[in-house]
Amino acid sequence: MDILHASIKELRTALDARDITAVMIAEAFLSRIKEVDTDIHAFLELYDDVLEQARHADTLIAAGNIHPLTGIPVALKDNLLIVGKHASSASKILEGYVAPYDAHVITRLKDEGAVFLGRTNMDEFAMGGSTENSAYGPTKNPHDMSRVPGGSSGGSAAAVAARMAPLALGSDTGGSIRQPASFCGIVGLKPTYGAVSRRGVMAMGSSLDQIGPFGRTVADTKALFACINGYDAEDSTSVSEETRRMMCGDVRTTGAMRIGVPESFVYGEGVDEDVKENFRATLRTLETAGHSIVPIELPTFPYALAVYYIIMPAEVSTNLARFDGVRYGLYVSGNDLLEDYMKTRGTGFGKEVRRRIMLGTYVLSAGYYDAYYNKANEVREALRAELVQAFSEVNVIATPTSPTPAFRIGEKASDPLQMYLADIFTVPVNIAGVPAISVPSGTVMRDGQALPLGMQFIAPHFAEETLFSIASEVERLA
């Protein structure tokens, strides 16, 4: 059996039939990592107990204690806590930090006997769209080593794309799962806000963050989502099963879909021509297969990026106040307590993190709060209302995931706003709290190299099933 190319379902079947063992699977991926990760740099650390975990999974299987992910390896973004293991959010300020407890998603995966391979590279504290903001050097795109894998969950996406892991977890605050999935040619899901517990993920923008899965196929991605999805009493933003059913209603999850396309937004400026062409072609294919394409107007969508770059830095500046050299991580001594703070944070935080804390502190400061933060929240509500209204007419909304394919390492490093504009299609989703998926939709050529593109589908709150359905269609028709 070709373990590296097998689907989760195939691995499950082979494991349960005792054709292969969890140890064999773990060894296959570990040797693949050794072979290719020196160049790609998807992992910050491989855990030293991978084979031990795999042996444990094999005893579970032998005892008939089998769950969907028993013995299946998973790579983890470096902002998720596993008790006793390092977690740094790719920041110098948390170098050497050891997690005191398991994130809720980790507990769920442990309960199923999944095997954790290691922690993956990311933009520092999930701030960025290229993984270039990691304090430990960038990750390369497996399709073209001179290009970024996207970000912030770039290490997780590259690991899955390069077959170093069959599954990975990431987090998505403004596109950090979907955009790297698109750049690396894999599937990535940003679940509904409140679907997956955030206990034990390092907070960035608390009204926006969600943990979500990466896989090479929609079915694989769905398998990981099924494990982590669900209510957690210890996350106050987790939504109860009852409320989910109420919010979701009876959405369409199979068959022909009405696909809304915000045309003036998608076909506007700043989107590469061949990305638009690829998007049109995918829509035509879906139409031929029996789905209907419905042009829609979402006039507030173009304001989402501005809203995002007010609300997110505001939340970043408050969330990252906890890194003060007192509780954990780096400590740099000064003349007094204030200087301890200043020096610790001045030494430990990278450039983009400092930039966003400064921006966030500015928009929250007296005199500017109304003009920025309050106004952004008003527009946020308008956008959410607009989206709810749109879903009364269509089942899903489609956009390209990103306006471009993967860009070159260093290309946008000197212009933060240019980097932010790459999030234009993904941020409205986090602003509204709805779920969205990125599914591969083909390739475009850049400098003689075929680079993957992704198509994004957006669904109503808690309608992830709808996303899996339509994304499977794109996969099937490709």
């Binding site: 407890y101 106050s236 933003t237 007192v326 301890d340 030494t347 921006l359 920025y372 209302a385």
Partner: protein, 92 residues
């Protein structure tokens, strides 16, 4: 924003930065703030008047887990401690 305002902001952020970095940051921030100001373009009538779908969720007082269960794990992460306390430089 002038240089003094940037310095005050850095102090509020509790981040030690060189004047050179603050100067670069000033230009970048003006560029970004210039972009995000477009939120004010939306006329009041078009805006939803109600703000605040997010609200605090409180739980009942109680003991969700045994007292002291995480004390050692959490304290051992602190750069400086004295017994069961975190040690910091004098505050006043």
């Amino acid at each position: 924003m002038d240089t003094d305002a940037m310095k005050r902001l850095a102090l509020l952020c509790r981040i030690d930065m060189s004047e050179e970095e603050l100067e670069t940051l000033r230009a970048e921030m003006e560029h970004i703030l210039g972009y995000v100001e477009k939120v004010s373009e939306l006329a009041p009538a078009e805006r939803a008047l109600e703000v605040g779908v997010h609200h605090n969720v409180m739980r009942e007082d109680g003991t969700p887990r045994a007292s002291g269960m995480y004390t050692e794990a959490l304290l051992s992460a602190a750069p400086a401690r004295e017994g069961d306390f975190i040690r910091v430089k004098k505050i006043l």
